[in-house]
Amino acid sequence: MNARRVRRRVVNGMMTGLVGVLSFLAVLALVLILGNLVVKGASSLDWNFFVKNPVPAGESGGGVANAIVGTGIIVGLACLIGLPVGIGAGLYLAEFGSGRLGWIVRFVADVLNGTPSIVVGIFAWTWLVKPMGHFSALAGSVALAILMVPMLARTTEEMVRLVPHSLREAALALGYPRWRTSLRIVARTALAGIVTSSLVGVARIAGETAPLLFTALGNLNFTTHILEPMQALSLQIYTYATGPFDEWPRLAWAAAIVLMGLVLLLAVAARSAIRQGPPHGAAR
């Protein structure tokens, strides 16, 4: 009997230790990845890296200014397309989504959410690149927007649903029309939540590579023309990481720091927005 009790105690201790070690390993993976980024890339980060364009392979120096600007333009354009649609669809789901159409939209959003980004990439290719006859940043932005919209719709819906009903009723009782109630009171109250979902959405698409492979394509030169092929940081990293030149891995690590910094910034901004939380005592 006593031996059995000891055994149970030991098993308890061992398993407690085991789940602790497993958690440690998961955090260790993060630390190792971020640590390697810094160690291998930081030395290449200088002013030139941010303001110069890539130089021909074999020459040393050069930067990724074109890719930084490209990522900004492609992601910015994707936001212009994706944010209104995603937030609008989310508002629809929260405000009018009790019927059959609401059910369909919700289901479709979940399906699209799980769609591999490469599939969205080839879809954007058939839709925009093929008819237009050339690769373009715009096609890349559309592909990224398609990835962003379903996720944004669902999270916006969740955030708007957190707004207490009494607030809405109070506004209506004061004679506010429904649309102003929805926009000025409900959406306004849920604003912090909507901002958070938007930032998370942007963070998710900013690092995407697969949808850009056959749309934005990449470009060695600096361009701001959205109907031309454009470079993005993620594409640049892919090229540098898989290329044959000695200089390239170093540049890939440095570009990865920049991309990772951008994504982390968005993630942290999203977190601080949610910490402020929706006012008026709404949940969360």
Partner: protein, 328 residues
């Protein structure tokens, strides 16, 4: 007991139906939002339509043979996707083998054992793994993970398990193993986050009952908490599987991209997503392109089925709440 008469429950009326049409602004507002919401179903229809249309020449040409033949010869115009389907499933399963214990461990530790004040920070750090772009995982895999596997992991593995067919052949680096390990790290945050929410949804009385009967903490977790949330945990795992199946960049950079079916995890393989990423821009003939679209269509169908299954299981546990949305 007599059976209650079952009547169809009428759908709840839209809350402000009586007011509809009174105010022009309301009608415009509702109309605008409806148009925006309807873009989603239209988008899905367009996506499926485009994929089917583009894949049609290959579907007509090869029929179901596409699924189980393994010849991929662009020059002769013969295409079979079996190696990619095999590689996709094999790499994802390998990823699950590594990621499931890891993420369940994290979830259990965070909900049951960890001191209160470290729970939130650790959860945040693990979720940050989901924020790292796929291409950065690929970069890390190429320059850190593969050398590490080659130097530290593969030699002992071969000593212990070298006699099995799973660890056969020479290890050059890019392989099923490398792809599987990177996928595992990538899906840990998803499985861990959803599992954690599932475990948090298990009522405290389950734990208290087990502890009250003299169970140790671990026994309470293993016999009362985990079985209660089993469906949701399986859902979380399947959700991770869905992620792994469609993952592109990191796998493309690590798996070796060879049209082969082999049991050894040390050998290069191929996945459906990697094939599209690699060969799409090289596809010179219409049939070649069409075959790649068929691969894309297959990948799409598989991930939709897997994700739907996962949602169903998770909804069973946490009905009504959108568990998993935070994992994004």
């Amino acid at each position: 007991m007599t059976a209650l008469p079952i009547e169809p429950v009428p759908a709840p009326e839209p809350r402000w139906r009586a007011l509809r049409g009174v105010n022009a602004g309301d009608r415009i507002y509702r109309g605008t939002l409806t148009v925006l919401a309807v873009t989603l179903p239209l988008l899905l229809l367009a996506l499926v339509g485009e994929l089917v249309v583009s894949a049609w020449p290959a579907i007509r040409r090869f029929g179901p043979h596409f699924l189980w033949t393994s010849v991929w010869d662009p020059v002769a115009g013969v295409f079979g996707a079996a190696p990619m389907i095999f590689g996709t499933i094999a790499s994802s399963l390998l990823a699950l083998v590594i990621a499931v214990p890891l993420s369940l461990g994290v979830a259990i530790f965070l909900t049951e054992f960890a001191p209160k004040r470290v729970r939130q920070p650790i959860a945040f750090l693990v979720e940050l793994l989901a924020a790292i772009p796929s291409v950065v995982y690929g970069l890390w895999g190429v320059f850190v993970l593969i050398p590490f596997l080659r130097a530290q992991v593969v030699p002992p593995l071969r000593v212990v398990l070298g006699w099995t067919p799973f660890f056969d052949g020479v290890f050059y680096g890019n392989s099923l193993l490398a792809g599987g390990v990177i996928l595992a790290i990538m899906i840990v945050p998803y499985i861990a986050a959803v599992s954690r929410e599932v475990l948090l949804a298990v009522p405290g009385s389950q734990r208290e009952a087990a502890l009250g009967m003299g169970a140790t903490r671990w026994e309470a977790v293993w016999t009362a908490v985990v079985p209660y949330g089993r469906a949701g945990l399986i859902g979380a795992i399947i959700l991770g599987l869905g992620r792994a199946l469609g993952e592109t960049m990191a796998v493309t950079m690590l798996i070796g991209n060879r049209h082969d079916i082999g049991l050894s995890v040390l050998q290069p393989a191929y996945t459906m997503a990697a094939a599209i990423a690699n060969e799409f821009s090289e596809a010179t003939t219409n049939l070649y392109l069409s075959a790649l679209f068929e691969v894309g269509l297959l990948l799409f169908v598989i991930t939709v089925v897997v994700n739907a299954l996962a949602r169903l299981l998770i909804w069973q546990v946490a009905r009504g709440t959108a568990v998993g949305s935070r994992a994004l």
